[in-house]
Amino acid sequence: MSVLNEIAENLMKGQAPKVKELVQQALDEGIEPATVLGDGLISGMNVIGERFKKNEVYVPEVLIAARAMHAGMDILKPALADAGVESKGKVIVGTVKGDLHDIGKNLVCMMLEGAGFEVVDIGIDCSAEKFVQTAQEKDVTLIGMSALLTTTMPAMKSVIEEIEKLGLKDKIKTMIGGAPVTQNYADEIGADGYAPDAASAVDVAKELLGC
């Protein structure tokens, strides 16, 4: 098995120290950092994502795969920076105002990072101002919002209204998710995208950012 395949396999098994070792080995063998990222780490997280969508792997397994990804990235980040490799795009992710649920949001962050995006996790109970201000400060063009309560879903609309108010609707796209959220609701409030789970969120982000 090639070292890149080994990286993906070990990532999927959550073997963080092994992934770290193999990433170093891959770089030592002269493989391009971008290739180690894409064909090693991202490729492994991709499989985890597909399996998670199908309920073939469960939350803890996604967590340990993400941990292995981070371990690999510890080695890879400097090499990527040296080689001038940029992320696929920047995404802000947060749970809306009044809502403290974060597991799904955290999984979305992991899956987006696992797909090569740079993620700004603004946490839980985030006001519309926080979403939009952070987007402006960090020059981010995609906002992902999570809500787990029917009572906090309307806060998603507030964020979109804030974006419109500031005349930024063309510049900043939005995607939403969470157990009570639906495609219908996304259409109703003018969100640009909806995803039913963390792995699908990656597909939606790719589509919205055109990558």
Partner: protein, 265 residues
Amino acid sequence: MFTIIAERINMTRKKMRERIWERDSEFVINEVKNQERLGATHIDINAGGDPSKEVEDMIWLTELVSGATELPISFDSANPDALKAGLEICNRPGTIINSITGEKSRIENTLPLVLEYNTNVIALTMDDSGMPPDLDARIKVANDLVALMKENNISLDRVHMDTLVQPVSSNPEQVACTIGGINFIHKNFPEMHTMVGLSNVSYGVPKRIHMNRAFLVLLIQAGLDGAIIDVTSDGMMGALYGTLALIGKDEYCMNYITAAREEKI
């Protein structure tokens, strides 16, 4: 008495929500009667499928449920208008408001209803600083809530304190905190009751019923005397009756034997 709040009439569940919006009375009545048959002491009603319809859905559900059983209701809402609408229709002895927290807005909205309608209340050990990160944080809010109840002359035996369940899949270190919180209350405020929303523990792992049942046993050992559960869940009531018998809360195992004889477990 172990308080068994049957959780199925909850509009955040897709199928239930759809049937309720179709006003399928027969479906709901069947759920009520089945949950009662299997040993529920309370029927939980959550009408929170769509916030703009919560009050009207609560009214419809309360009328239906209170007509289908004599059991008291647990009104599951953070919306005081919905709570009030339900309580106006049915406020029999043992009625529970689910829930209050240490958050300022929840106290403002819910405490007056507990007082006005003289109900029992489930109190969650969280406040405006968010989800408690550990046992100490839960204990702090528990103490604050006890003080609040005493200030308002609400006797502690009307209170069911819930020390907040987090999923073991994502927050495994919280499991011991929940259990520790229950044990703290059991030891320090023995006249007060305890409560958990059991199924939260198993979010994110397969075959959730095993995890739910195992958690129930651990909690009862720590002093739990109430739970919001799916009484229809395979083996759940068996584990409950068995554990209560094992800790000496079922003289001569009579409840256990009766439940077995009546094919409830």
